[in-house]
């Protein structure tokens, strides 16, 4: 793994996340590795490591966290969060970091493509005439092609 300079510590970053009411703090981390040892993604690719994310956060290594690929490997399965003896919301924190990375334009292409689809359609898959014919044949109610109101709601945001 490449070396990280501790000079790049960003104290405002720590403060902002640590004071979030929803997240409820992360400084109690014991570094016990319970999160990592239960992580199914870590088992598939040991470059991914939730403890490392929490430790990097505690040290304020904002650029490394938000500019890298690691946070995007989290599968959102909540195993780490459920297992954490200190009750740290590890998965919710990683999710928040993904949002921060997106604000800095570091999002995997698959994620941003999906976001664009939703903002254009209000749903991921268009239900076209062909789908609705198949649905009718199976006795299922027809559905609108896209969702205009949801689209409008996201435009106004």
């Amino acid at each position: 793994m490449k070396k990280i300079s501790s000079q790049s510590s960003d104290l405002d970053f720590i403060k902002e996340l640590d004071s979030s009411e929803f997240i409820g703090g992360f400084k109690g981390c014991l570094a016990c590795r319970t999160c990592t040892s239960g992580c199914p993604v870590h088992r598939a690719d040991n470059e991914y490591d939730p403890l490392r994310i929490i430790r990097m956060l505690t040290l304020g290594l904002k650029n490394e966290l938000l500019g890298g690929n690691m946070i995007w490997l989290c599968s959102d399965c909540y195993t780490c969060q459920e297992n954490c003896p200190m009750g740290i919301k590890v998965t919710d924190i990683i999710n928040h970091l993904k949002n921060m990375a997106t604000s800095e334009k570091n999002t995997p292409i698959g994620v941003s493509t999906q976001e664009k689809l939703l903002k254009d359609q209000g749903k991921i898959y268009i239900i076209d005439n062909f789908d609705n014919k198949k649905r009718a044949k199976a006795g299922l109610p027809s559905l609108p092609e896209i969702n205009e109101e949801a689209k409008k709601l996201l435009e106004k945001e």
Binding site: F22, A44, Y48, D131, K156
Partner: protein, 291 residues
Amino acid sequence: MKYSLFLGCTIPARSRNYELSARAVASQFGMEFIDIEEFSCCGFPLEASDEMGGILLAARNLALAEERGLEICSLCSACTSMLTKTAYRLNREKELKDKVNVELAKVGREYKGTVRVRHFARILIEDIGLERIRKSVKRDLKGLKAATHYGCHYLKPSYIYEGFDDPQDPKTLEQILEAVGVINVQYKRKKDCCGGPVLLSDEAVALNVAGEKLKYVKEAGADIMNLVCPFCDLMFDSNQKGIEAEYGIELNIPVLYLPQILGLAMGLGRKELGLNLNSVNTKDLTARLEV
């Protein structure tokens, strides 16, 4: 018993077998589903990149059910968790709720905070009950062995789910199967994720996570896999052929949605349960059960 049925995006487009079987089983139990065609995406796919956008979509969906005085029955675990988590947060974080309602007002909606969201399987347990499920059996499943995959968002994060089941030692889905005469097979990594959400950022890692689980399901000698989420189904059913090719293993494990298995026990047929739409062929299975 009336519920608004929340389908989300994936089920009506790609998992009609889940929708068909859930509707068929619900109707057998006298559950009435109301379809709200204004429902959009649940908001979950935006959670990682535009959390506020995701919350807005979820809140609008909640408001639509609330306007009609209905609770939400959701089939997809990711939709269940997004809608439940949003209601949980809006009911506790006043500032967030006010902000959301300012946006919702622009499309003529309001979230008040009276709507309840539950997964279809949870409703089966809580509103129908194991006793009625047991009494609904009309067909002998001949010692069918199932490996249940709980997935993640059916029970997690646990802080939003009011103590329903225990994600550290989940039981509810297997209790339902046991009630209809299925033998529950235990296997290694039972509680692990399907890998699905990683597909968008790293396909190889995602398939590796799913492949490992399928291997253990095979080793445990299960006839079928049982699940309750269309993303998990995508990983284990739709991608099973690809996983076999990638790792040079033979799996051939039919992957069924919970209501497809229930429906079989209740005496329903292949087409009613959409068993012809599963990716891994289910013909040998139904022939064995004389369906």
